[in-house]
């Protein structure tokens, strides 16, 4: 915990944005290990792949586009400090009423949690309670979140997409070839690693019922493998391997798959996302429903992350021509 605070303060003082982003990666990794200590293995998994991996990468691409030096001028740090200290002390005053950390009698543990812990095995048949709450009890929420992620991906697409031209590709190729020949060792090592990363992503995707994991984590890991590939072999190679419009289709397909599971149960006369409609045996239906929904989430997350990354990187490689 103290480490986290230290890193956060270091971020305030650093002027060089590259160093700030590296510190942010460390911060993500530290908070992931804190989540493990707090028994939240699923959350730690997500934070490690998102906070320490993907977000660092995205920020790096962004500062490559915007420049890394921060202006020294600050507006009225004293006023800001006063506001911050005032708000902070109010919040600390608020915590004095809170139940102590780790108490089993705290109100938060009395509401719906006992039901999830005691009944989910009979009702859902999945050992990982986090997965059963995520994909079954609160499927409606998760659907909303998948849609938010999809919408953010579309927003990035709308803001940053550039129309590519054929002749540009040829030029970039010439630039890329000598550059990528230099890094022989990382290239070979990562070439060997990528299949394992992809395999691990699938394991996380389909093993989410029993251990920590699920669609969100798997999608992020899958996207990370593609990012690695892109960084080593250059954008033009990656574009040849991965078709942009296909990825955009996939992102929409993921959301559609999720939604259609809900519609199927509606058509069968049950409530939205009531999986018992999917199969004669209610627990079997739950299994099928969770599997389909996690698949939808995984596809959406992976393809949205790839869309976001490609659009940032494209912006870098094909600088915008003057308002054409």
């Amino acid at each position: 915990m103290a480490f986290l605070v230290g890193v956060a303060f270091a971020i305030v003082w650093m002027k060089d944005l590259l160093a700030v982003i590296m510190l942010l990666g460390i911060y993500g990794l530290l908070s992931a290990s804190f989540f493990v200590a707090m028994d939240a293995v699923d959350v730690a998994f997500t934070e490690a792949s998102v906070g320490a991996g993907i977000s660092t990468l995205l920020m790096l691409v962004a500062i490559a586009l915007t420049g890394r030096a921060e202006h020294p001028a600050r507006h009225k740090p004293l006023l800001a400090l006063a506001v911050v200290i005032f708000t902070g002390s109010l919040l600390i005053y608020g915590t004095l009423d809170m139940p102590y950390f780790g108490l089993a009698e705290a109100p938060i543990h009395q509401h719906v949690a006992p039901r999830y812990i005691n009944d989910s095995m009979q009702e859902i048949g999945v050992p990982n309670i986090v997965t059963s709450v995520l994909a079954s009890y609160r499927a409606f929420d998760t659907f909303g979140e998948a849609v938010v992620i999809f919408t953010a991906g579309m927003g990035v697409l709308a803001l940053l997409s550039v129309a590519r031209r054929r002749e540009d590709d040829a030029k970039i190729d010439l630039l890329n070839i000598p550059m990528h020949e230099q890094h022989l060792i990382p290239r070979i090592v990562i070439k060997m690693l990528i299949p394992f990363i992809l395999l691990f992503a699938f394991y996380v995707q389909f093993h989410g019922d029993f251990g920590p994991g699920g669609g969100f984590q798997a999608g992020v890991i899958f996207a990370a493998a593609i990012f690695l590939y892109t960084m080593l072999f250059g954008m033009s190679t990656a574009h040849r391997v991965i078709n942009q419009s296909f990825i955009q289709m996939l992102a929409a397909t993921g959301v559609l798959l999720y939604g259609s599971v809900g519609v199927v149960s509606l058509l069968n006369g049950k409530e939205f996302f009531d999986y018992s409609a999917l199969s004669a045996d209610p627990v079997g239906g739950q299994h099928l429903g969770i599997l389909l929904i996690e698949l939808g989430v995984g596809i959406t997350v992976a393809s949205t992350m790839v869309i976001i990354f490609f659009n940032f990187a494209d912006r870098k490689e094909y600088p915008q021509r003057k308002k054409d």
Binding site: T95, H109, I117
Partner: protein
């Protein structure tokens, strides 16, 4: 007695550090970093509340009676992924601002805006 609230205080400190970065720094990327720190402090707050002393990770197994609360885990898990998607959107906006104004410093942007009208 004091240790009982220690986690929440660390959360408050982290949150205020993030808040300070957002209001006191002019650089848009730095502001986004501040927002991420703020966001993570909220995650830590939720996860701290979910912890039960002596409990274990909420994956059902034989012979274990006490589990941590799974509900906050679910909420935060999805919030992290949604957070990175919205962060990406914010970064995309910053990139567009850089292209339109040639700078991502708040003051320079405002100066340019004032010159225009």
């Amino acid at each position: 007695m004091l240790m009982g609230l220690y986690n929440y205080w660390v959360v408050v400190v982290l949150m205020m550090v993030g808040f300070y970065i957002v209001i006191a720094h002019g650089n848009l990327i730095k502001k986004i970093v501040g927002l991420i720190i703020f966001q993570t402090s909220v995650f830590i707050f939720y996860i701290s509340m979910a912890k039960v002393d002596g409990g274990t990770a909420p994956i059902l197994a034989e012979g274990i009676k006490l589990y941590s609360n799974p509900l906050p885990h679910v909420l935060i898990l999805t919030a992290i992924v949604v957070g990175i998607a919205t962060t990406a959107l914010a970064l995309a906006l910053a990139v567009r601002i850089k292209e339109a104004y040639g700078s991502i410093e708040e003051e320079e942007i405002q100066k340019k805006d004032n010159q225009d009208c």
